[in-house]
């Protein structure tokens, strides 16, 4: 039981909430930024299973603009730590719908899994008295963090599973294929251009990638420096894919914060920026006098 819901500081949830709700605002303007323009093109819309199951109406301009407004207001309220359950679930539902619309025109990305999981689960912790400075810990907080961690790791591990599945359940077909060559030719922006004449190097990178994805599950049991090393490795991996192909996976990257001791942020800041002490009046010494000039 305690592995699924370890007791963790609630301040970590408060910080994670602030960061993720601000990130959602960024995401809807920079990453999944097309639901409003796409809603002009009903002829290209193909609903996801989720939209069919929930009988969601097809996207339209009034609908997507409403979602936009709800998300902006909801994120600002939730990032401020107000009405954490109501605002949190409104943002979760609206953002899931927003992203689902963005993914209903043929291209589905899998970089949003951990973020969507985090948005649905963060409200379950409820109010965190003290916010970023909260001193209370709870299994409720630990469970949310654990689920977000599982979703982050699943993004890697299950992408390896999907690659093995696509190769008729053989491990070698994907890393021995020309997938990176394919990706670089189609996204001829980054450093990948330099590697086109060297398919052998690309194969080594593909092997490294799938082996790292398969072993990513171990991250769930790492602690301390080993966890830090794993986190730095994956951050490096994402920096590398940006340099190679301009593929960033930012929504997954930001969810790595669920592994970080975010509760130390406020004490760390306080120690470096101590509050100004109020002036203490000095009692006058007998026989001395302050002379004003």
């Amino acid at each position: 039981m305690s592995w699924f819901a370890p007791v963790r500081p609630e301040a970590r949830i408060a910080v994670l909430r602030s960061v993720l709700y601000v990130f959602v605002l960024l995401d809807m303007h920079v990453i999944v930024r097309d639901p409003i323009p796409l809603s002009h093109h009903t002829e290209l819309y193909r609903p996801l299973d989720l939209a069919v199951l929930l009988h969601l109406p097809p996207p339209s301009l009034p609908l997507t603009w409403t979602l936009y407004a709800v998300l902006v207001v909801g994120c600002l309220v939730a990032a401020a730590g107000r009405a954490p359950r109501l605002a949190g679930w409104v943002v979760a539902a609206a953002f899931t719908w927003w992203v689902a619309i963005g993914f209903s025109y043929g291209k589905v990305d899998h970089d949003h899994l951990a973020l969507v999981v985090a948005l649905w689960l963060l409200p379950t912790v409820g109010a965190v008295p003290g916010g970023w400075s909260a001193t209370r810990s709870s299994a409720q907080a630990g469970w949310v963090l654990k689920c977000v961690q599982i979703a982050v790791v699943a993004t890697y591990f299950l992408s390896a599973v999907a690659k093995i599945r696509s190769g008729h359940w053989t491990l070698t077909s994907w890393p021995e294929s020309y997938i990176l060559m394919w990706a670089i030719v189609r996204r001829p922006h980054g450093l990948g251009q330099l590697l086109v004449p060297h398919p052998g190097v690309l194969h080594v990178m593909q092997w490294g990638s799938i082996l790292a994805e398969l072993s990513s599950v171990a991250v769930l049991w790492l602690r301390g420096r080993a966890l830090l090393a794993a986190a730095l490795f994956w951050m490096g991996f994402h920096v590398f894919t940006v340099a190679l192909l301009y593929i960033h996976f930012a929504p997954t990257v930001v969810c790595w914060l669920a592994f970080a001791p975010l509760e130390r942020l406020r004490p760390w800041w306080r120690a470096r920026h101590p509050p100004l002490e109020p002036p203490v009046p000095v009692p006058p010494r007998p026989g001395s006098a302050l002379v004003s000039r």
């Binding site: 039981m1 699924f4 819901a5 930024r33 097309d34 323009p37 796409l38 002009h40 093109h41 002829e43 290209l44 193909r46 996801l48 299973d49 989720l50 689902a100 993914f103 025109y105 043929g106 291209k107 589905v108 899998h110 970089d111 949003h112 899994l113 999981v117 001193t135 209370r136 810990s137 709870s138 299994a139 409720q140 469970w143 654990k146 689920c147 599982i150 979703a151 699943a154 993004t155 299950l158 992408s159 599973v161 999907a162 690659k163 599945r165 696509s166 190769g167 077909s173 994907w174 294929s177 020309y178 997938i179 060559m181 394919w182 990706a183 030719v185 189609r186 086109v196 004449p197 398919p199």
Partner: protein, 155 residues
């Protein structure tokens, strides 16, 4: 000597923990089920399918482009990005068979472009083109362009 803070721990009942463990297991099962059996349209419980396929050494790699004939006679590429055409390349690529059957679906691009360039020259004709790179034993051998669909822009 300072007295260490006694950390306050919020109580959690047995039922409260039980449903959380159960929910975690359901999440993991749904995610595995998606990657093992389902397709993209099952998002967020679908497979992590980006780049999950295996192009062969002699593959043909296609980039989808849209070219336009302007009213002033120029032939230009309409960049398939939300900022320029109101729709991105991936969405057009996903609908290539539909556009080949019904080229008037390219109206999506012309409307998006015109809305963002109201003062520019009018688009008169659109061409959906595959910009192909042919590999031979894993090396780039040649490139060509193939027109997949064309549509005379109607008001």
């Amino acid at each position: 000597m300072t007295v260490p803070d006694v950390a306050e721990v919020r109580p959690a009942g047995r039922w409260s923990l039980a449903w959380r463990v159960l929910a975690t297991l359901v999440l993991v099962v749904l995610l595995f089920n998606g990657s093992l059996r389902l397709e993209d349209k099952a998002w967020p419980f679908g497979p992590m399918s980006q780049y999950a396929f295996s192009p062969p050494a002699d593959d043909t790699i296609a980039i989808t482009r849209v070219y336009a004939l302007l009213a002033d006679g120029q032939r230009v590429e309409v960049p398939l990005r939300v900022e320029t055409a109101g729709i991105s390349r991936a969405e057009i690529e996903a609908r290539i068979p539909s556009i080949e059957r019904d080229p008037s679906l390219l109206r999506t691009v012309s409307d998006g472009w015109t809305a963002r360039n109201p003062t520019g020259p009018r688009l008169t004709e659109l061409f959906l083109v595959a910009d192909r790179t042919h590999l031979l034993r894993g090396q780039v051998r040649s490139k060509d362009l193939v027109t997949l669909a064309e549509w005379r822009v109607t008001p």
